[in-house]
């Protein structure tokens, strides 16, 4: 049976000034899947993610998350929607003056009525889920890039949102750390049933974690492929997709 769509994009277009980034983007993200947005540098992957989480407003079309539109929702409706999603930023975006534990406790403090000791217990579990139990008391400046990414996931998971957005989770990581992060994403999707929307151009990650993907292209100014990444690799629908998956320059 068809799975329920938790995110729907309909005829979405985006640009800055007179520059069109993409147009006519349509896709559904099903509950519980790992959905990958891929494409070359500058094609608008991260912008599309920011559209989905309501940081940008599309120049045309609409993106809905769990039936609501973050770009237009306000007040309690927006707050409710925001509670349903977590974001891991490309840079980690951890607050430098707080320990990892305090970083994870922050959303709990803002959105729940958990007492302090409970927030600490919950935050420790989240850090444990990403394998950072021993680093709870460390500051972001004292940890490696891979640990910062995992801490970013732990903070994004603080409220157990059903949807997690990850912006370039593997960027700048060594292959082993990157593979560990991919494992973590798969584990969390399987064990907790979380829906993941991942922006990346790391081929190995795409193939390792992606249930389904869409590909954006800078020249086409839009979506040029959609489907299982392994199928797209084995049976590319066009030359751009073939070059991307085979790492060919022409």
């Amino acid at each position: 049976m068809a799975a329920e769509a938790v995110i729907q994009a309909r005829d979405v277009a985006m640009g800055f000034g007179s520059r069109v980034l993409f147009r006519g983007v349509n896709f559904d993200v099903a509950r519980g899947e790992v959905f990958v947005i891929l494409g070359g540098s500058g094609c608008g992957k991260s912008t599309l993610l920011k559209l989905m989480i309501g940081l940008y407003q599309p120049t045309a079309g609409q993106v809905t998350i769990l039936g609501g539109d973050l770009a237009t929702a306000d007040g309690e409706a927006r707050r409710n929607l925001l509670r349903q999603l977590g974001v891991m930023w490309q840079s980690g975006a951890l607050f430098g003056s707080m320990t990892l534990l305090e970083n994870v406790m922050l959303p709990l403090e803002a959105h729940t009525d958990l007492p302090r000791e409970a927030r600490e217990d919950v935050a420790r579990v989240k850090l444990g889920l990403v394998g950072l139990s021993d680093a709870a008391g460390r500051l972001p400046a004292e940890i490696s890039g891979g640990m910062a990414k995992r801490a970013g996931i732990a903070r994004a998971m603080a409220l157990d949102p059903p949807i997690l957005f990850l912006d370039e989770p593997s960027a700048g990581l060594d292959p082993v750390t990157s593979a560990g992060l991919d494992e973590l994403i798969k584990d969390l999707a399987r064990d907790l049933g979380t829906t993941f929307v991942v922006v990346t151009h790391e081929l190995q990650s795409i193939l390792a974690i992606g249930d389904r993907c869409i590909m954006l292209d800078k020249e086409a100014q839009g979506m040029i492929a959609e489907g299982d990444p392994r199928h797209l690799r084995d049976d590319p629908p066009n030359d751009t997709v073939r070059r991307f998956f085979r790492r060919e320059t022409r």
Partner: protein, 431 residues
Amino acid sequence: MTERQPGAPLGEGAGNRREGRPEGAAERASVPGSPSLPPAEDMGPGPAPDAAPEPGGAVEAPAPAGQEPSASPGVERDGEVLRLSGRLTSMTAGEVWRPALKEAHGARRIDLSGLEMLDTSGAALVIAAARAAGEDVPVEGASRPVAAVLERSRAADRPPAAPPAGRRLGVISALGAWGVGRADAAREATTFMGEASATFVNAARRPRDLRIADVLRHLDEVGTRAFGLVILLGVLIGVILAFQSAIPMRQYGADIFVPRLVGISLLRELGPLLAAVILAGRTGSAFAAELGTMTVNEEVSALRIMGIDPMVLLVLPRLIAATLAMPVLALLMDLAGLVGMSVVMMATGFPLQLVINQVHAGVALGDLLGGLGKAAVFGLVIAGIGCRAGLAAGSGPRAVGDAATSAVVGGIVALVVLDGIFAVLFYRLGW
């Protein structure tokens, strides 16, 4: 991809029911790790062990037969059994956290058969309750999806580690650490002064190394862009000084001497000092922030690796600019203060010519030059402290703020100390 089930609509929580399982027929199991209970994989019929739990951030278990699902979590102590029920998620766990831990004390068993929904935050509560009851207390009755989340969370849970013994410093150790820290800072400051002096000497020998364009840019930032602020404060200080001194001096008929008093105060002391305070707050902090950001971004390391001395490229132009600009700022402050004082004197009935004559009679050229000389030294020291704070910045976003604070505080303290030294020096020299 794996086909999954439709979930609960927004507002009803993130979880949903597993299709194909009859109402109330969910397998109840104990939490893995409890000695008396089987692991989740051994639990009876139901969904395949490798099947995903319910999609969403929380998993939902079917309500026991004959019971209506409830929105709120429940805590109940029934003899030796602690029962947790309802929906236990990050949004609801706060309601029952403390009561649950209170009720958990002395419990011999924790029953989760009434639990309808659990996420990892709710699992943290179950774990905390089990810990409060005693580590060996069995946790029973969890449905398969609930048990899976609990298992995952329990595997992730580790009690906080005790702080390393070395970090528990006594008062004497803390004082010692503070002393060593101060000594290190003094050594670094001395090293910086030595490096800066050597850079000055080398630049004098090889002027081509000095980037004149950078010096001019900093002269503009330090000097001309501060003119407005200096003039404004100078006029106001002149007005205040004139008023404050005229009131008591008038009682003795000595208000004619106010221009002398204010003139000497401004030229020898207040002009350079106030201009230097403006420099410390405005420029010292800017130098520290700019160089601190470059240090945090590893631009300074990149310069060093390229064989370019940051002292020459970054520090020297700033030191020269501040040293040259400060006497000009002090002079401007002096003149603006005298203008302010003159306005007050004229407003109280003294003609301008009389005021000018009084200033001329009371102030010597040495007063002006001494003040401007002090100002140049103030500029050099404040810029040096700002640059050192920036180059010594640590890592992380706080480093830049700390560097700027250190530059302003250090600059103003150094200013007052230097002014005291100059006062004694000028007194000894009879100036």
